[in-house]
Amino acid sequence: MKYAMLIYGDDSQWVDLPDEEKAKLRAEEMPRWVALFEELQKADPVVSGHELAGRTTAKVVRVRDGERIVTDGPFAETKEVVGGVFLADLPDLDEAIRLAAQIPVAEMGSIEIRPVVQ
């Protein structure tokens, strides 16, 4: 079964950090992401992962009665927003849960696992 792991985190403090601080924190955490991605790759050689730019870069578009309405900011006004997604073909939900728990963001935020419609 193909699963999407939606990574929800609170990036409100992250966005205000200076670039050097971000780079440092990112470098510290990177080995865990790499190890996780390698494990995902073992389960699914064509696993994909996408990291999204911060919430301030988001735009929302709606079309009502033929008219386009564009607003700034993410769609949801929640404290935690989607910051990335992994997509992998895994044996079952238990395996998806085991791997989701290894995503560093799971320790502060939440990982939502959703089956993908084939």
Partner: protein, 121 residues
């Protein structure tokens, strides 16, 4: 630049559609995806199963907490996405506005993270 177009829509509205209506909606998505491919902007896309099939995982301390259901109970839920390869956010907005769910739900466009110059790749 790649943009993720997150598709938010009311799931109960989808559940209430007839088989024929659903086929018509799928046909519109297929036609749009074909057009995106022809234009060279289609980099990926997936439809997610309903939020009632979602599982949410959190780790607090040494404990893994697993709950049924989505991260947040919202009227309009994330139902899928397109990954678009576009020259600018304006071009991505043009495509996003044509996603059928834009007419009743909302499409959130997010550029993918790009490591700043000089940073690790």
């Amino acid at each position: 630049m790649q943009y993720l177009a997150l598709i938010y829509a009311d799931e109960t509205a989808w559940d209430s559609l007839t088989e024929k209506e659903r086929r018509d909606v799928y046909a519109r998505y297929t036609a749009l995806a074909d057009e995106m491919r022809t234009a060279g902007v289609m980099a990926g896309g997936n439809e997610l199963g309903p939020t009632r099939d979602a599982t949410t995982v959190r780790v607090r301390g040494d404990e893994t907490l697993v709950t049924d259901g989505p991260y947040a109970e919202v009227k309009e839920a994330l139902g899928g996405y397109f990954l678009l390869e576009c020259a600018s956010i304006d071009e991505a907005l043009d495509w996003a506005a044509r996603i059928p769910a834009a007419e009743h739900g909302a499409i959130e466009l997010r550029p993918l993270h790009v490591e700043p110059e000089g940073g690790a790749s």
